[in-house]
Amino acid sequence: MNNKIKRILPQLLTILFVVLVFGFFTINAQVNMDNRGIDFGFGFLSQEASFDMQFTLLDYDGQDSYLWAYVVALLNTLLVSFLGIIFCTILGVIIGVARLSQNFLIKNSAAWYVEFFRNIPLLLQIFFWYYAALRALPLPENAQPWFGVTYMTIKGYYIPSMIWENLNVFMSCLIAAIVAIIFIRVYARKIQEKEGKQLPVLYISLALITILPLLSFLIGGVTLDFEMPVLKQLAQTSFIFEGGIALPPELIALVLALSLYTSTFVAECVRAGIQGISKGQKEAAASVGLTPNQILKLVIMPQALRIIIPPTTNQYLNLTKNSSLAAAIAYPDLVLVFAGTALMQTGKAIEIVGITMLTYLSISLAIAALMNWYNKRIEIKEK
C-alpha cells in the first residue's frame, strides 16, 4: 500500500504541475487575445500573402496564399540544408582523413582548419562571408568568367541553366540503368555464394550507367541545351546578367558558412570512426588473403561507418537547424518568411511560431527515427 502511494503520488504531482502550467498559459493567452481582438485559428493560411520573395524554387508571387508561401520557404530551407550537407560531407571526409595522415604538414594544417572554423560562432561566419567577403567581389560588368561560363559577381553567382527536351525519356533510362545495376548486384552475390565466382560488378555498372543515358540521346530524341548568362546593360552604369540560373549571395554565404563550420564536426566524427578500428582487424583481414581494396571495402568501411554515421547524422540535423540563421542575412527561409514577414502581417504569433517550431521538430524527429532504425540494423548482434 505504502509502495503504491510512493509510486503514484510523485507522478500525479508532476502531471498536475504540467497541467497547471499549461492551463495558466492558455488562460492568459485567451485573455490577452480577447483584449487585443485577435482570434485563434489557422484560417489565415488560405489568405493572400501579398509579399514577395527574392529567391524561390517554385513559382510564387504575392497573390499566392500564406500556405504556399510556407511551402516555398520550407523548400528554400531544405535547399540550403541539402547543399550544406553535401559540401560539409565532402570537406569533412577530406579533412578527417587528412588529420590521420602521416604527413606532418597535412596533419597539422587539417588540425588548424578544425580549430579555426569550429571556434568562431556560426553567425559571425555567416556575417563575415555575406557582409565582408562577398561584398569584395567585382560588379557584373567587371566579372571574369570562372571555368569559362560561370560568373561570380557581387550580385550573385551566375551559372548556365540546362534546357531539356524529352527529359522523361532520359530519366526513365537512368532509372532503368539503376534498377538493372541492383539486379546485377543481387545476381552476382548469388553466383558468388553458390559457385565462388566473382563478376566484375563495378565495370558492368559503370558501363550500364553511361551507355543507357547516352543511348537516350542518340535514339530517344533527348536534347540538352545550355542557356548561358549574358551581360546586359540596363542603364549607363548598371549591368546585370540575364539567362541561366542566378544564385543569390545570401545563399552562397549561407552554404559556405554552414558547410565550413559543420565540416569541422564531420571531420572529427570521421577521424574518431577510423581511429576506432583496431589494427588487428586489418591484419586479420590481410592474413586471410584479402586484397587491400577488399580489406577497405569488406572489413574497414563497414565497421568505421558504424561508428561514423550516427554522430554525423546528428551533425546534419544541427546543420538543418542552423540553416535558420538565414533570417539574419535576409535569405528567404522558413524563419524569415514565415516567423518574420508573415507574422508581422497577420499578428498570429502563437500559430505561426508554433507551426515553425513544429516543422523543425518533425524534421528532427523524422531523422532521429531514421537513425534509430539504421542503428538497429547495423548493430553488432552479440550472442
Partner: protein, 422 residues
C-alpha cells in the same frame, strides 16, 4: 618508376642528396621571392609553365631526397614526416607554397599597410585594414550603449562574480560537503544580486541603466553565464526524470528534452520575443533580456540534461545496488552516492555545453539585443564609418576564437584529467 623505396648505392646517395636539396631549395626560393619581393625568376618560361615550375622542381627534388636511411638526422626526419610517398611529397609542396603565397598579402593587409592612428575615417589612408575603426568603437563593442562613465560598474561586477566563483577552491576540508550547495544554489543567487544591483543600478545611489543599453561582449557573458547557472539544476532534474522508473515522469521529461532539442534556437528566441508575452498575465511586464535568458535556459537545459544523463549511465550498476542494499531511499541514494560521482564525470561535457552556449549567444541579435554582432551591425551602418565590415567581423572573430579556443582546450584538459582518475 617507383621512387618511393628505391635502393641507392652509397656512392650515388650523396649525389642524389645534393641534387635533391638544390632543386628543393631552388623551388622554395622561387615561390618565396615571388610572393615576398615580387621577383619572378621563372618568368621567362612560357605561359602556364612558370606557375607549375616550382611544383615540378620541388617534386623532383623531394623524390631525389627520398632514401631509406641517409645518416643525417634532419633529412631522415624530413623523409619520415613529409616525404614518404610521391603523393605525400606533392601535398607537402602544395601546402607549403599555399602558405607562402597567402602569407604576404594577409600580413600587409593586417599589419604593414594598416592604420591605427587618428579618430576619424579620414585617418585611414593605407590600402590595408583600418584598425582606427576598431579603436574608436572598442568601448561600444565591449559594453554596448552602456554610459561611458559607468563602465567601472560592469568591470567590478564581473570581477566580483569571477572572484566568488573561485571561492570554492579555498573551502576548508570540513566545509567541502557544502561545495555543491554553494555552487548550485547560493552562488547563482549572489551572482544575480551583484549583476542586478551593480550593472542595473537603481539603488544604493547608483544610476538606473535600463537593459536596452546593455550590449557588446559584456552582454554575451551576462547571458551565457546566467543561462549556464540556471540550466544546470533544471538539466539535473530532467536527467533524473528521464531515468526514473515512474512512467509519467519519464515521458514528460523525454517529451521536454526531445522538444527543445528538435527546434532551432532562433525559433526559441522568436518565441520568447513575440509569443511569450501573450502567455503572461495582463499588465505583467517582463523585460526582453529576462525573457531571452529564460528562453535560452529552457533550451539549453535539454542539452544539459542529456550530458548529465550520460554521466548517470556511465556509473556501474553496482553503485546503485550498493546504495540500495544499505537501505537508502531514492533521494538519499542520488544525493549522497550517485550524483557526486556522476557530476564529476560530466564536468567536461558541461564545459562543452557552455562553449556551445557562448557560441550561440550572438543569436540574440535577431531579437534586437545589441550583443557584439548587433553592435557590429550598428557600427557598420553608421554613415561616418561605412565600408569597414571586414575589420569589424575579423575583430569579433578573433575575440570569439580566443575565448572559445581557450575554453575547448580547458575542457579537453579536464577530460584527460578525469579519464585517468577512473
Amino acid at each position: 618508376m617507383n621512387l618511393s623505396l628505391k635502393r641507392i648505392k652509397s656512392q650515388n646517395q650523396m649525389t642524389n642528396i645534393y641534387i635533391g636539396s638544390a632543386l628543393l631549395i631552388l623551388s622554395i626560393l622561387d615561390v618565396f621571392l615571388n610572393s615576398f619581393f615580387r621577383i619572378n625568376i621563372s618568368g621567362s618560361l612560357p605561359g602556364n609553365l612558370s606557375i607549375f615550375f616550382p611544383l615540378i622542381l620541388g617534386f623532383l627534388g623531394l623524390s631525389y631526397l627520398r632514401t631509406e636511411y641517409s645518416g643525417y638526422k634532419f633529412l631522415d626526419s624530413l623523409n619520415k614526416n613529409i616525404n614518404t610517398t610521391n603523393f605525400n611529397a606533392f601535398l607537402t609542396l602544395f601546402i607549403t607554397f599555399a602558405i607562402l603565397k597567402a602569407f604576404p598579402p594577409a600580413l600587409s593587409w593586417m599589419v604593414l599597410d594598416a592604420n591605427i592612428s587618428g579618430d576619424t575615417k579620414e585617418a585611414c589612408t593605407g590600402t590595408g585594414a583600418c584598425w582606427t575603426y576598431i579603436k574608436v568603437w572598442f568601448k561600444r563593442f565591449m559594453y554596448g550603449m552602456y554610459p561611458n562613465e559607468l563602465h567601472w560598474r560592469i568591470n567590478s561586477a564581473f570581477l566580483l562574480v569571477i572572484g566568488l566563483g573561485f571561492v570554492g577552491y579555498f573551502f576548508k576540508e570540513n566545509l567541502k560537503k557544502y561545495l555543491a550547495l554553494y555552487y548550485v544554489v547560493i552562488y547563482p543567487i549572489i551572482a544575480f544580486l551583484i549583476i542586478y544591483y551593480l550593472i542595473s543600478g537603481g539603488s544604493f545611489g547608483l544610476v538606473w541603466v535600463e537593459t536596452g543599453a546593455w550590449g557588446g561582449l559584456s552582454l554575451t557573458f551576462i547571458v551565457s553565464f546566467f543561462c549556464l547557472i540556471f540550466c544546470f539544476p533544471l538539466g539535473m532534474i530532467l536527467a533524473l526524470g528521464r531515468r526514473s522508473n515512474l512512467p509519467a515522469i519519464r515521458y514528460i521529461s523525454v517529451g521536454y528534452i526531445e522538444f527543445w532539442r528538435g527546434v532551432p534556437l532562433i525559433t526559441v528566441l522568436f518565441m520568447s520575443s513575440v509569443m511569450f508575452p501573450m502567455f503572461l498575465p495582463q499588465d505583467f511586464f517582463m523585460d526582453k533580456l529576462v525573457r531571452v535568458i529564460i528562453a535560452i535556459t529552457l533550451f539549453e537545459a535539454a542539452y544539459c540534461a542529456e550530458v548529465i544523463r550520460g554521466g548517470l549511465q556511465a556509473l556501474p550498476r553496482g553503485q546503485y545496488d550498493a546504495a540500495k542494499s544499505l537501505g537508502m531511499g531514492y533521494w538519499k541514494m542520488h544525493i549522497f552516492v550517485i550524483l557526486p560521482q556522476a557530476l564529476k564525470l560530466v564536468i567536461p561535457g558541461i564545459a562543452n555545453t557552455f562553449l556551445a552556449l557562448v557560441k550561440d549567444t550572438p543569436l540574440i541579435f535577431v531579437v534586437g539585443l545589441a550583443e557584439i554582432a548587433g553592435m557590429l551591425a550598428l557600427a557598420k551602418t553608421n554613415p561616418k564609418w561605412l565600408g569597414f565590415a571586414m575589420e569589424g567581423y575579423i575583430f569579433a572573430a578573433i575575440i570569439f576564437w580566443i575565448i572559445c579556443y581557450a575554453m575547448s582546450k580547458y575542457s579537453y584538459n579536464l577530460e584527460e584529467k578525469y579519464k585517468t582518475e577512473r
